[in-house]
């Protein structure tokens, strides 16, 4: 399959890229890892007249801790997360996700930022970043602005990014002591979208109760879903089986999946329940709170 023709631009600085995006308007798409965009172009589900390839901009491929946050640059690939020592040691939710997104070959090119900017509710990082309470830096003609992840996903394949803005960085707050996370994904086969996916991030207080919690769902609605009710049900409680089961049920209630070849609505909601319980158990275990 051959994409429709386009004009190719390869800027070598963020400023140049933004200038191009501003000048070319809605007819331009940003090409980063290309692992979602190029298949769309080949299927002609999208035919932008201009592609702005940001891969030649130096200095954007970092994954590092600084200023109380894990900072992920626009060109950090999934494989960079997987191979990062700091991610492995301190951000288990991210480490989990980086091993189950698409397949290893796709992960060698696919970027974390692109996974968010694409705005696909079936992508994995949206739920992961919602659970982590991340923040997105958008750089445009008038400078940088920070967008809380809660305000980033505005609709199916729609985000708060303006056409002349580049998602330049993701910031994940550094975990408090006694924090843990987990990502659970049910997929029919490697490379398929999730039948259901659940991201959980928790912190335990000095008294052993849950002092912070984020739970979000992949491919369970038109946008990634943060399940506030399930979080509220856990806050301040000891993470025992009863509390986890209650939160899992609330997560299932909040899921709004469509029936498709991956399963019926009832099945998918029940998988959200099962996966939420598993993700929470694992997250609390990693936080040091037993099960």
């Amino acid at each position: 399959m051959i994409p429709a023709g386009f004009e190719y631009h390869a800027p070598t600085s963020v400023g140049e890229a933004i200038g191009l995006l501003a000048r070319l308007g809605e007819d331009a798409k940003v090409l980063s890892g290309g692992q979602s965009l190029i298949p769309l172009l080949k299927l002609r589900l999208a035919s932008p007249r201009h592609l702005v390839d940001i891969n030649r901009i130096p200095g954007l491929a970092y994954v590092k801790e600084a200023e109380g946050a894990l900072r992920i640059g626009a060109l950090a690939r999934e494989v960079d997360l997987d191979e990062s020592e700091v991610v492995r040691a301190r951000y288990p939710l991210l480490a989990d996700a980086s091993r189950v997104i698409a397949d290893p070959l796709v992960r060698n090119l696919a970027t974390v930022a692109g996974n968010l900017a694409h705005g696909d509710p079936a992508n994995d990082h949206p739920a992961v970043m919602l659970a982590l309470g991340a923040e997105v830096t958008a750089t445009g003609p008038s400078g940088e602005r920070r967008i809380p992840i809660d305000a980033f996903f505005t609709g199916p394949f729609e985000t708060a990014l303006r056409h002349d803005e580049l998602l330049t960085e993701i910031r994940v707050p550094a975990p408090a002591p006694r924090s843990g996370g987990s990502y659970m994904k049910l997929e029919r086969k490697v490379g398929d979208f999730a039948t259901a996916g659940v991201a959980a991030q928790v912190t335990l207080g000095a008294d052993g109760t849950c002092s912070a919690v984020g739970i979000a769902l992949t491919n369970a609605g038109l946008t990634p879903i943060k399940v506030n009710k399930a979080e509220a049900a856990l806050l301040g409680k000891r993470p025992d089986e009863a509390a986890i089961k209650q939160a899992a049920q609330l997560a299932a209630d909040a899921a709004q999946p469509d029936a498709d070849l991956r399963g019926s609505v009832e099945y998918k909601k029940d998988m959200v329940r099962v996966l939420t319980a598993r993700a929470l158990r694992k997250a609390f275990e990693r936080a040091g709170g037993g099960g």
């Binding site: 386009f6 190029i38 397949d103």
Partner: protein, 162 residues
């Protein structure tokens, strides 16, 4: 647009449309037909080549993105008429039947073994999980990779380099 790429150590120069996919540059412009096109939808991995050290699906990269970068294709495995231990492994362990997925399997395995000289079976299975084979059921492919890993460790231990 002008694209300059180094493939298997050899420099190539081509004038291409931006929409030309890397796999088409390799196969149709440069006539290196060892790399296969399978699904053409980023699923099967038959088109896998190594781009700057990492295996990628060349049906999901534009040729212009490879400008001034290094590519290794299956043709780069054989050296001075001698098959690479991976190729020998696939022969010895019957790691192929129809052979369609084999170039991709070889490239993924080659990049993988460079980083993991003594992999477990589980690690091999994960590494090749983006490459589909419809003939062998993977058992013999895993054996072939293990065969090559052992051979490469032997060679490295004896001071040789491949």
């Amino acid at each position: 647009m002008r694209v300059q790429v180094t493939i298997n150590g050899e420099k190539h120069d081509a004038d291409v449309e931006p929409r030309l996919l890397l796999v088409h540059l390799i196969r149709e412009v440069l006539r290196l037909t060892g790399t296969h096109i399978g699904c053409d939808t980023t699923h099967c991995g038959a088109c896998t080549v190594i781009l700057d050290g990492r295996p990628v699906k060349s049906c999901t990269v534009f040729a212009v993105q490879a400008h001034e970068r290094e590519i290794m294709t299956v043709e780069g495995l054989e050296q001075n008429g001698a098959l690479h231990p991976l190729q020998e492994g696939f022969m010895a362990e019957h790691g192929l039947q129809c052979g369609y997925c084999t170039p991709g399997m070889l490239m993924t395995s080659h990049a993988f073994l460079a980083k993991h000289p003594a992999p477990t079976e589980d690690e091999i299975r994960r590494a090749i999980s983006g490459n589909l084979c419809r003939c062998t059921g993977y058992v013999n492919i895993v054996k072939a990779v293990q065969h090559a890993a052992a051979k490469l460790r032997e060679t490295a231990g004896a001071g040789g380099a491949r």
